[in-house]
């Protein structure tokens, strides 16, 4: 049920998705990505509730970096990507499989296949820090989409994040 008191539309959408998603997770088990999407990238953000204000519908907590970015971007890239936030405490099934130990992790899937991104950080599987810039994130998603459509399993991100701690 979409939440009525949401301040931000994107947040609203995200939260609603979060709840549906989580429900599926808890009900259906591990294979949440079985709904094959023909047309788009599936972006899954593994995180925690208290970071996201995911479950706190009544409280107006300011959204933190990554969440905010994802919320505002969701509307713009909805034609070719969809974002699903997942709470790893509710759905711990993927923690070992994907090594989800960071506060927030974003992974990309296309037609049920995991797409790797060369970000320069050494870990090509996911983005495990809070990406601040909206446009950067959109660029990454677009690159993933283009590469995945051509059948590539690994795409090269437009920006190099090897020095991410020193921006």
């Amino acid at each position: 049920m979409p939440l009525r008191n949401a301040r931000e539309r994107g947040g609203d959408e995200k939260r609603s998705r979060c709840r549906t998603c989580c429900r599926i997770c808890t009900q259906g088990g591990p294979s949440i990505r079985l709904f094959l999407r023909r047309r788009g990238v599936v972006i899954i953000r593994f995180g925690h509730d208290w970071d996201d204000t995911c479950m706190q519908k009544r409280q107006r907590m300011p959204m933190l970096g990554k969440q905010k970015v994802l919320a505002s971007v969701a509307e713009r890239i909805k034609n070719f990507a969809v974002i699903y936030p997942v709470d790893i405490t509710v759905v711990p099934d993927f923690n070992t499989m994907y090594e989800l130990y960071d506060p927030s992790t974003v992974m990309f899937f296309f037609r049920n296949k995991h797409i790797m991104i060369d970000l320069g950080t050494g870990n090509n599987n996911k983005i495990n820090w809070a990406l601040k810039d909206k446009q950067e994130f959109i660029d990454i998603v677009e690159t993933v989409y283009r590469g995945a459509r051509k059948g590539r399993g690994l795409v090269i991100a437009p920006k190099d994040y090897s020095t991410k701690y020193r921006y």
Binding site: E75, R76, I77, N79, F80, I138, E142, Y145, R146, R149
Partner: protein
């Protein structure tokens, strides 16, 4: 504005009364002219020397006094609604109104004539006044007030003119080149002023009368612009049919005043608006939309006038409907634009890039195309090792170049268009420092007669720049196409 009316009047055929009057006046004039030889000259002379009466005869005519009498009676009677049953043309009031319209135009013309008369006489006294005060009635009032006075500080012009103009007039009067008029001329001038003012008053009466009957004559037009403005428009045009025959752009300009600048900026002057400016609809539109509103009003009121002239809708409903339409349109103009929706991004690669084609692109691509030599170098024969630039597999490989079995007898360096273009540019620009030639040119030339010849490299440069050298058969140019044999 009377001159405008003049030109329209020339097209109209319903003013038979006017023609009769003119003929009358001409006859009287002819009587005077028999004394003089040249008719035209006589007119000018009569204007200058004779009485006002020869110039302005309207007030003396029977027609004028008849109509004025009727108008006054009608005004006293008040509005009379009972005659709606009659067919319009038979109604004596309607006829009176038609006459009034014609008369008001005549009065305007008369006023112009009198104004000219006054001006001519007063020029001796105060020549600059005519360029400062344009309006004939204002001019007449001012002349009457000033009289023969040389010192304008004693004259109080408050109320006659805007204060800025009064200031300019006073300043100009102090430096004027005019001299006081003789008593006789002054008297004539004052008489003429009085006459002009009387005519103006008469015109006002006529207009008031027409205005009071406006709702009956032209209900649709009055529904749009209001009865006062409708009366003025009709009066200036010279009748309802005359108004109906005008194009809307002319209706817009009926009553447009010539602005007196006197050093003021043109930024604030409202341009190209006549009586329409006084309508309620116009006054209530915001200034930014005023020009558009004016055009719209003129157009619709012309339509209404046309309906009225044929008595198509005596109830005035068409007019009211048109007014509604106008108001709606003006409201729509004032609506804010629709809010901008944030658009989601399109799917990447969904819109293919527009690729161009054509000869130009082909030629451009040819410059960077793969040459035969390079094609051969890219391929290798099976089982046959290729040669390389540094030998033993080091350096760049030559592929099928130079090997047997590549099917070509001789592969020469093709015409490299890119290189040719660059070389040509280089030659023409003559890169290098201060007169020294480019490193690519050689000063040696092998000629059949003398063998080796040293050419002066400067000679070429001058030739190219002189402009007499034909570039069609250019010596530095290349062939445009070489077919591979």
């Amino acid at each position: 504005m009377a001159t405008l009316a003049d030109s329209f009047l020339a097209d109209l055929d319903e003013l038979s009364d006017n023609d009769a009057d003119l003929i009358e006046e001409d006859d009287v004039d002819a009587g005077n002219m028999e004394e003089d030889v040249d008719g035209d000259m006589a007119d000018v002379e009569t204007l200058n020397y004779d009485d006002l009466d020869c110039v302005s005869k309207l007030q003396k005519t029977q027609r004028y006094s008849d109509i004025m009498q009727k108008v006054e009676d009608a005004l006293e009677k008040g509005s009379d609604i009972s005659n709606q049953g009659l067919v319009l043309e038979d109604d004596p009031e309607y006829q009176l109104i038609v006459d009034c319209n014609a008369l008001s135009v005549d009065i305007e013309n008369e006023i112009i004539i009198i104004h000219n008369f006054i001006r001519d006489k007063y020029r001796l006294k105060f020549p600059e006044l005519e360029s400062l005060v344009h309006h004939p009635i204002d001019y007449a009032r001012v002349v009457k007030k000033i009289g023969n006075e040389m010192d304008l500080t004693l004259v109080d012009l408050e109320g006659f003119l805007p204060s800025a103009i009064i200031m300019v007039v006073s300043v100009t009067a102090s430096t004027t080149s005019g001299k006081p008029l003789p008593e006789e001329v002054l008297q004539k001038t004052i008489d003429a002023c009085d006459r002009a003012l009387a005519l103006d008053a008469a015109k006002k009466k006529v207009l008031d009368f027409v205005e009071s009957r406006m709702g009956y004559i032209a209900p649709n037009l009055s529904a749009i612009v209001g009865s006062a403005v409708a009366a003025k428009l009709m009066g200036t045009a010279g009748g309802l049919s005359a108004l109906a025959k005008m194009p809307a752009c002319n209706v817009q300009l009926l009553g447009a005043k010539k602005k007196n600048l006197a050093g003021f900026s043109t930024a604030t002057s409202q341009f190209r608006v006549g009586y329409i400016e006084q309508t309620e609809v116009f006054q209530t539109t915001p200034p930014a939309l005023r020009m558009r509103a004016c055009r719209l009003l003129a157009a619709k009121s012309t339509l209404a006038a046309r309906v009225d002239s044929t008595r198509g809708d005596p109830s005035g409903n068409t007019g009211r409907a048109l007014r509604e339409e106008i108001c709606k349109k003006i409201e729509k103009w004032q609506e804010p634009p629709p809010a901008k929706q944030p658009k989601p991004l399109p799917v990447p690669d969904s819109e293919p890039k527009k690729k161009r084609g054509g000869r130009r692109l082909r030629k451009m691509k040819e410059r960077y195309a793969l040459t035969d030599m390079r094609k051969l170098a890219n391929r290798m024969q099976f089982g046959v090792p290729e040669e390389s630039s540094l030998g033993d597999g080091l350096g760049e490989g030559y592929g099928m170049l130079g090997q047997a079995g590549n099917g070509k007898l001789r592969v020469s360096v093709g015409q490299s268009k890119l290189a040719a273009k660059v070389a040509k540019k280089f030659k023409e620009k003559n890169y290098g420092s201060s007169g020294a030639t480019s490193g690519l040119t050689s000063s040696l030339a092998f000629t059949p007669v003398q063998g080796i010849e040293l050419t002066n490299p400067q000679a070429h440069a001058h030739q190219l720049g002189s402009g007499t050298q034909s570039t069609y058969f250019s010596e530095t140019g290349t062939f445009s196409k070489i077919k591979p044999t």
